[in-house]
C-alpha cells in the first residue's frame, strides 16, 4: 500500500478548462468514500490498481489476438468471433494487471499510477508556465481528501511555488482533515448532492451531515482564503425538486454562500461501468429537461445566489 508520500492517481489531464478558473491541470485521485449511483468515474472508486477495458479501442474485429494468453488468472475469455470478454469476478481480485502489457491498441489499460510528491510536482512545474495568469492545478477524483497526507504535502509545495490550487470534492471528511487541506487551497467546488439526509444516503451511500458541517465551518473560517462554489450534479427525479433547491438556498443564505454550479446529469460514464463489469442503473433515466434546469437557475437567482449551469461560468 502507498506510503504517505505516494499518491494513487488515475489520470492527469492538462488544458482542463471547466474545473476552476482559467486553464488548469487536473489531477484525478483514485478512491472514493461515496458510491454514487450515477457516478461518471466509477473506475476511480477502488483504492487499488485495476483494469479498464476500452472495448471501442479493441482491434479484435480486425483480427488481433494479442491478448489470448495474457491473463495468468484466466479472466480474459473470448466469444465465438474472438472478441475478448473480461470475467470481472476474477479480474477484480487482480492487482498485477499483466494483460495491459500486451495490448498495443491500449484497450486493456491499467488504471492507477503511484506518484510521489516529487513526481507530481515535476508534472505540475512542467505545466505551470502554460496555465496563464488565472489558471492552476485542480485536485479531483475520486475523492482527493482520501489522500490527505499526500495532498497536504503537495499543497504546501504548490503554495510555496505560488500556484493557484483548486479542489473538486464531496466534502466528506473529518473536520481535521478538511481543515488541513482547505487552509492551503485557493478555490473549491464542494458537491451538495441532496439536502435530505435519507435521499443523500440512498444516492451516495453516506450521510450529508459531515459535508454540510464542513461547508458551514469553511464559510465562517478565518483560515480560509479562497472562493467556494457549491456544485450539484443535477439529476432528474433525484435532486431537481423545488423543495430540495429551497433547502439548499436556505443553507447557503445562512452561511453567506452565493455561488452554485449546476451540472446537468450526463451519461458519459456509462461505458466505464461496462468496462469495469458493473451494471449502470442510470442508463435510461435521470436526464434533465432543459426548462427544468432554467427554472432551477431562476429560483437561485431570485434568491440572490449566482447560479451557473454547466460550463457557462464566469471563470
Amino acid at each position: 500500500m502507498p506510503q504517505d508520500t505516494t499518491g494513487m492517481i488515475f489520470d492527469i489531464q492538462s488544458y482542463s478548462v471547466h474545473d476552476g478558473p482559467g486553464c488548469r491541470t487536473n489531477v484525478f485521485f483514485v478512491g472514493c468514500p461515496l458510491q454514487c449511483r450515477w457516478c461518471a468515474n466509477p473506475e476511480s472508486w477502488a483504492v487499488k490498481k485495476h483494469l479498464l477495458f476500452a472495448e471501442r479501442s479493441c482491434k479484435w474485429d480486425q483480427g488481433c489476438t494479442a491478448c489470448r494468453d495474457a491473463c495468468p488468472n484466466g479472466s480474459l475469455k473470448f466469444n465465438d468471433q474472438g472478441k475478448p470478454c473480461v470475467d470481472w469476478a476474477i479480474c477484480n481480485k487482480c492487482e498485477t494487471i499483466e494483460c495491459s502489457e500486451v495490448c498495443a491498441a491500449h484497450a486493456l489499460k491499467q488504471c492507477v499510477r503511484f506518484l510521489t510528491v516529487d513526481d507530481l510536482m515535476k508534472v505540475l512545474m512542467r505545466d505551470f508556465p502554460n496555465w496563464g495568469s488565472n489558471g492552476g492545478v485542480t485536485f479531483s477524483g475520486g475523492e482527493p481528501l482520501l489522500h490527505h497526507e499526500f495532498l497536504d504535502q503537495v499543497l504546501q509545495r504548490c503554495r510555496k511555488e505560488q500556484m493557484h490550487t483548486a479542489i473538486e470534492t464531496s466534502g466528506f471528511a473529518s473536520p481535521e482533515v478538511f481543515k488541513k487541506i482547505f487552509r492551503n487551497l485557493n478555490f473549491a467546488f464542494i458537491d451538495v448532492k441532496n439536502m435530505d439526509e435519507e435521499m443523500h444516503k440512498w444516492g451516495t451511500g453516506v450521510s450529508n451531515k459531515p459535508i454540510l458541517n464542513n461547508i458551514a465551518t469553511l464559510a465562517h473560517a478565518d483560515w480560509w482564503r479562497g472562493r467556494l462554489v457549491l456544485r450539484q450534479p443535477t439529476i432528474h427525479g433525484y435532486n431537481d425538486s423545488t423543495e430540495n433547491a429551497k433547502r439548499l438556498i436556505e443553507f447557503m443564505n445562512e452561511n453567506g454562500l452565493f455561488e452554485i454550479n449546476l451540472l446537468r446529469f450526463h451519461r458519459m460514464g456509462g461505458t466505464k461501468w461496462e468496462q469495469l463489469g458493473k451494471v449502470y442503473e442510470y442508463n435510461d433515466h435521470g436526464d434533465m429537461p432543459e426548462e427544468r434546469m432554467l427554472a432551477l437557475q431562476e429560483l437561485y437567482l431570485d434568491n440572490d445566489i449566482a447560479c451557473y449551469i454547466g460550463e457557462d461560468t464566469p471563470f
Binding site: 492527469i12 489531464q13 492538462s14 488544458y15 482542463s16 478548462v17 471547466h18 474545473d19 482559467g22 486553464c23 491541470t25 482491434k59 480486425q62 483480427g63 488481433c64 489476438t65 494479442a66 502489457e101 500486451v102 495490448c103 498495443a104 491498441a105 512542467r126 505545466d127 508556465p129 502554460n130 496555465w131 496563464g132 489558471g135 472562493r227 452565493f258 455561488e259 432554467l294 437557475q297 431562476e298 437567482l301 440572490d304 445566489i305 449566482a306 447560479c307 451557473y308 460550463e311 457557462d312 461560468t313 464566469p314 471563470f315
Partner: protein, 897 residues
C-alpha cells in the same frame, strides 16, 4: 434582465470582481454583406478552369521578339499577355480584377513545363485517355469534390486531375506547348542535369518519391510580395522614373563588368511591364464603362461607373482612397501570380500597408468601417479564387489545391512598437463574416500585441475556419537576424518579416510611403522565393533506405549505393543516415535544384516581381541578378520529422539499449508490416485501422514494443533528446550547402500535404506506423494518439530546441469546440496559444471541429460544401482535399475537456 446580467449583479453586490467578463456566451458574428453571399455562392458553383488567352499572347509576342535580350523579350511577352486578357466584371462586384477571364481560373505555362502537354497532345486532340502521370503524381490523391475537375465531362477536358479546359481550346494548347518542346525550363534543365555524373542518383530519389518534386514545378512563391513602388508612385510616375533610369544607365556598366550593363535592360523591362499592367487595369475601366452603357438598373450602372473611375485612376496615379489602394494591391498581386506557376505569394501585412488610406478616409468621413469590412470580404473571394496550374501531384496532392496567399497581422512596426492598427481588426472581422479559405491569416504574436487583438484573433479561430494561425514574432525576428546576418540583416528589417506561403519566414523591410502629407514606414518583402530549394524529402523513408542498404523495396530501385555496414551501434546507424545517405541526397539534390532554378532565371527572369521586390528598382537589377536586398532564401523541405524521431527512438530503445530485438528482427517486422494489411489494402490511411493477416501473431510482441517505445510529445527526454540531436546535426549541413544564389541553406519544416503521398511510399516504420499510412502532419504535431500526457507535455517536447534555428516549425492542434465555448473559452484559447508562444514555439494553428463532424462530411461531401479545415499552413474546403489527408485530419488527437 438576462440571467447573465442577474449573475453579474449578484456577484457585484457580493463583492466579487468580475468586471472583465461582460458576457458568458459567444458574441454573434454578423452576417456577411449580401454582395459577399451572392459572389461566394457563384464561387461555389464554379469549376477550376484553364484557358489559353494568356499563353497564346505570351507565346505569340515571345516568338515575334526572337533574338531580343531575354528580360526585355519576356517583359514584352508578359505585358502583351496581361493586356490582351478579357476583363471580366460580375454584377455586384466592387473590386475588379481576375487572374484570367474566368472567375476561378488559371492557365498553363508551357515555357516552364511542356512535356506534360506534348506527351498527351495526340490523346487530347483525339479526346481519349488522360496524360500518364509522373511517379509523384501517381501517389498523390486529389480531392474529388468542389470545383475540382477530376474527369472529362461534356465538352470539357480534365487536365492534371483538377482543371477543366474547353475542348475547342485544345488545339491552341497543343500548338503553344509544341513550341516549347525543346526549350522549356524543364527540358533545358533536364539536359544540364543529365550531363552530371550523379544524375542517376537524382532519378532514383525522384522515382522512389523520396524527394517529392522539381523546382520548376512552382519556381516562384513562398515569399512576401512588396506593393510599395506602385503605392508610392503610381504607374505614370514609374514609367517616368524608368525613362530617367534608362537615360542614366543604358550603355553604362559603372564599375561592374559582369552585370553593370544589365541595369539598362532591367529598366527597359520595367517600363514595358509597367505599361502592360497599366493597360490591363485600363481594360477593366473600359469594360466597366461598356457594361454601364448597357445597364438599365441605375444602381448597378453607377457601380460599374465607380469601378471605371477607380480603374482609370489606379492605372496611372498613386491611389487616393482605401478602395483604390486595395484594388491596386490586388491587381499587382494578380500580375505576380501570372508570371510563373505560383503558390504561396503572400500578401504580407496588408493592414499596415493600407493603413494610410484607411486613416485618411475615416478621418475625412468618406468611408465607414462597415464599408471597409465589405470591401475586405469581397477581397477574400478574389484571393480565394486564385488558382495555380502545375502537375496534379503538386497542385492537388501537395498543395491540396490551395495557393497560400497568406496575410499577416500584428508583429512590430519600424519603431519597434506593436504594429496592430484599427484596420487589422477589420481584416479579422471580414475573415469572421466572410468565411472563405483565402487569404489565410497569420498573427505575428508578440508580447507587445494588444490583449484585445489577441482575443479578437482567438474569437476568429473559434469559428473553426482554421485561421488565423499564430506565429512567433520574436522567433521570426531571431531567425532573420541569425540567418541573414551575413547579408547585413538589421533589427529594423528583422521587424518587417512575414510568412511567405504557409509559414516560410521571409525577409522584409520598411520603406517610406508619402501620402496625405505624412510619411509612413510600410512593410513589404525584400527577398525572392523563400522556398524553392530541395523539395519535400521523406525523412522516415530515408531511414527505411538506410535499413534496406539503399534499396527501395516498393519500387525495386537501388536508390543509394549499398553502404554494406553492419549498423551494430546506434551511432553507426546515425552515421549512415546523416553523413552518408542524407549528405549525398543534399549535395546531389542541391545541384539539380540549382540547375533548374538557374535555368528558370535565365529563360524566365521575373519581370513584374523584380520591379516590386525591395531594392531591385533601386539597384537596377532583376531578382535573378540578386537585385533584392536578401538572397539567402533557398531551403530544404523536410517531411515526416516526428515519424523519423519516433522510429529512431524505437530502434535505439528496442535494438541498441534494451537489446530486445536484433536489427534483423526489426527489419523483418517492418518489411512484413508487422503482420498487418497495408493502407492500400484497407483503404484507410490513418493508423486507426490495423487489419491482421495470418502473420500478425508472429510480430505482435515486437509491434507492441514499437508502439510503446518512447514517443515524441510526452515530455520524455529519451525521445526529445533525439529531436534536439536531429536539429543540431541538420543546421551545419544547411549552412554548408550553397544555393544557385551562392548563399547558405536553412531548414523548412512543414509538410503542407506531402505527409500523405510520402507516407504512401514508406513501408512500416519502427515507431509502429504501418505501410502506406500518412506521416504525422507538420513538424511538431505528435503522431496521432501517441501523445498521452496532454497538450502541455506536447508543448514541452516541441520546444526542446531553439525554433529560430530554422525557417519555421509547425504545430497543428485539434480542439473540440466545447472546450473553448463562451467568452471564458476565448480567454482559455488565448492562454493556450500564448503558452506555446512564450515557450518559443514558432507556429501553432487550430482546427476547432469535432472528428464526428468530419466523418459525417467525408460520408456526405455535398452537404458540407462550405466546411473548411486547417490542413498544414493553410485552410481548405474539406471536399477539395484528397482522402488520405482527410483521414489524417480526422485522426489527429482531439483536445477536449
Amino acid at each position: 434582465m438576462s440571467n447573465e446580467a442577474k449573475i453579474q449583479e449578484i456577484l457585484k453586490r457580493r463583492g466579487l470582481d468580475v468586471s472583465d467578463v461582460t458576457d458568458f456566451a459567444d458574441e454573434v458574428v454578423p452576417e456577411p454583406s449580401p454582395r459577399f453571399t451572392k459572389l461566394i455562392n457563384i464561387y461555389y458553383m464554379m469549376k477550376n478552369t484553364i484557358d489559353m488567352e494568356y499563353p497564346y499572347w505570351y507565346n505569340r509576342v515571345w516568338w515575334e521578339n526572337d533574338g531580343d535580350i531575354t528580360e526585355i523579350r519576356r517583359a514584352k511577352a508578359e505585358a502583351a499577355a496581361l493586356s490582351h486578357m478579357t476583363p471580366t466584371i460580375l454584377p455586384g462586384e466592387l473590386l475588379f480584377g481576375n487572374k484570367t477571364r474566368n472567375f476561378r481560373g488559371a492557365f498553363c505555362f508551357p515555357w516552364v513545363d511542356a512535356s506534360f502537354f506534348n506527351a498527351a497532345a495526340e490523346a487530347m486532340m483525339a479526346g481519349v485517355d488522360a496524360p500518364p502521370m509522373a511517379a509523384a503524381d501517381a501517389v498523390s490523391v486529389v480531392g474529388a469534390g468542389g470545383g475540382n475537375v477530376t474527369k472529362d465531362f461534356g465538352n470539357v477536358v480534365s487536365i492534371a486531375q483538377k482543371f477543366g479546359l474547353r475542348r475547342e481550346e485544345v488545339p491552341c494548347l497543343v500548338k503553344v506547348a509544341k513550341y516549347w518542346d525543346n526549350g522549356s525550363v524543364e527540358r533545358v534543365s533536364a539536359r544540364l542535369a543529365e550531363a552530371r555524373p550523379d544524375y542517376q542518383k537524382w532519378a532514383g530519389y525522384r522515382n522512389s518519391v523520396l524527394v517529392m518534386f522539381d523546382s520548376w514545378a512552382i519556381p516562384q512563391g513562398r515569399e512576401v510580395i512588396n506593393y510599395y513602388v506602385p503605392l508610392e508612385y503610381g504607374f505614370d510616375k514609374i514609367i517616368e522614373l524608368c525613362d530617367e533610369k534608362i537615360a542614366e544607365t543604358l550603355g553604362e556598366a559603372g564599375d561592374d563588368g559582369i552585370l553593370g550593363m544589365s541595369r539598362g535592360y532591367y529598366y527597359m523591362a520595367c517600363k514595358t511591364i509597367a505599361q502592360g499592367v497599366s493597360k490591363w487595369i485600363e481594360n477593366y475601366a473600359r469594360r466597366a464603362e461598356y457594361l454601364a452603357a448597357h445597364e438599365t438598373d441605375e444602381v448597378q450602372k453607377k457601380e460599374y461607373l465607380d469601378i471605371a473611375a477607380v480603374a482609370h485612376h489606379i492605372a496611372h496615379k498613386q491611389p487616393e482612397t482605401f478602395r483604390q489602394a486595395l484594388n491596386l494591391t490586388l491587381m499587382c498581386h494578380y500580375g505576380v501570380v501570372n508570371e510563373d506557376p505560383h503558390s504561396g505569394q503572400s500578401i504580407g501585412r496588408l493592414g499596415q500597408i493600407l493603413y494610410p488610406w484607411y486613416e485618411k478616409d475615416i478621418a475625412d468621413g468618406t468611408t465607414t468601417d462597415e464599408e471597409v469590412i465589405e470591401l475586405l470580404e469581397l477581397y477574400r473571394i478574389k484571393i480565394t479564387a486564385i488558382e495555380c496550374f502545375a502537375s496534379s501531384g503538386v497542385t492537388g496532392g501537395v498543395l491540396s489545391g490551395n495557393t497560400f496567399n497568406n496575410l499577416s497581422l500584428g508583429g512590430l512596426g519600424y519603431d519597434g512598437l506593436t504594429a496592430v492598427n484599427p484596420l487589422e481588426y477589420l481584416i479579422v472581422e471580414a475573415g469572421m463574416r466572410g468565411k472563405s479559405t483565402q487569404p489565410t491569416l497569420s498573427l505575428l504574436y508578440d508580447e507587445k500585441t494588444p490583449e484585445s487583438f489577441l482575443l479578437k484573433v482567438a474569437q476568429c479561430i473559434k469559428l473553426g475556419l482554421g485561421y488565423p494561425a499564430i506565429m512567433n514574432n520574436q522567433g521570426g525576428m531571431n531567425y532573420m537576424l541569425r540567418h541573414y546576418q551575413p547579408e547585413g540583416m538589421t533589427i529594423y528589417d528583422a521587424r518587417a518579416w512575414a510568412p511567405g506561403g504557409c509559414l516560410e519566414s521571409s525577409p522584409g523591410c520598411f520603406q517610406p510611403l508619402h501620402y496625405n502629407g505624412k510619411t509612413y514606414m510600410i512593410p513589404g518583402g525584400a527577398g525572392p522565393t523563400a522556398g524553392t530549394g530541395i523539395h519535400f524529402t521523406g525523412m522516415p523513408k530515408l531511414l527505411e533506405l538506410v535499413l534496406s542498404n539503399g534499396f527501395d523495396r516498393r519500387t525495386g530501385i537501388q536508390v543509394f549505393e549499398p553502404h554494406n555496414r553492419k549498423l551494430d551501434t546506434y551511432e553507426g546507424l546515425l552515421d549512415v543516415y546523416y553523413n552518408v545517405y542524407l549528405q549525398e541526397l543534399l549535395e546531389v539534390s542541391n545541384r539539380m535544384n540549382n540547375l533548374q532554378m538557374d535555368t528558370h532565371r535565365k529563360i524566365c527572369p521575373t519581370v513584374w516581381a523584380s520591379l516590386l521586390k525591395a531594392d531591385c528598382f533601386a539597384n537596377g537589377q532583376n531578382q535573378s541578378h540578386l537585385g533584392a536586398r536578401y538572397n539567402g532564401t533557398i531551403n530544404f523541405e523536410s517531411c515526416g520529422t516526428i515519424n523519423l524521431i519516433n522510429s529512431l527512438a524505437s530502434i535505439k530503445k528496442n535494438v541498441y539499449d534494451d537489446k530486445k530485438y536484433t536489427l534483423e528482427e526489426m527489419k523483418d517486422a517492418m518489411w512484413n508490416n508487422f503482420g498487418f494489411k497495408t493502407a492500400f489494402e484497407t483503404g484507410v490511411f490513418s493508423p486507426d485501422r490495423r487489419e491482421a493477416t495470418e502473420l500478425a501473431p508472429k510480430y505482435e510482441k515486437i509491434f507492441n514494443d514499437c508502439v510503446n517505445a518512447p514517443k515524441y510529445g510526452n515530455a520524455d527526454d529519451y525521445v526529445d533528446s533525439i529531436l534536439v540531436d536531429y536539429e543540431d546535426r541538420m543546421l551545419p549541413k544547411m549552412l554548408a550547402l550553397r544555393s544557385y544564389m551562392g548563399k547558405q541553406y536553412y531548414m523548412c519544416q512543414i509538410s503542407v500535404s506531402t505527409h500523405g503521398p510520402q507516407g504512401a511510399i514508406t513501408l512500416a516504420s519502427a515507431d509502429g506506423r504501418l505501410c502506406g499510412t500518412t506521416y504525422a502532419d507538420a513538424s511538431m504535431s505528435p503522431a496521432p494518439t501517441t501523445d498521452k500526457n496532454g497538450i502541455y507535455a506536447l508543448f514541452t517536447s516541441a520546444t526542446c530546441y531553439d525554433h529560430a534555428m530554422c525557417q519555421n516549425s509547425q504545430m497543428n492542434v485539434k480542439i473540440h469546440p466545447s472546450a473553448i465555448k463562451g467568452t471564458q473559452g476565448t480567454h482559455k484559447l488565448l492562454d493556450v496559444y500564448r503558452a506555446y508562444m512564450r515557450k518559443g514555439g514558432f507556429h501553432i494553428q487550430f482546427n476547432v471541429t469535432s472528428s464526428k463532424t468530419l466523418r459525417e462530411a467525408q460520408a456526405k461531401p455535398d452537404d458540407y460544401r462550405d466546411l473548411m479545415v486547417r490542413v498544414a499552413g493553410f485552410t481548405q474546403y474539406w471536399c477539395e482535399i484528397g482522402k488520405p489527408i482527410q483521414d489524417e485530419v480526422i485522426f489527429r488527437t482531439e483536445y477536449d475537456s
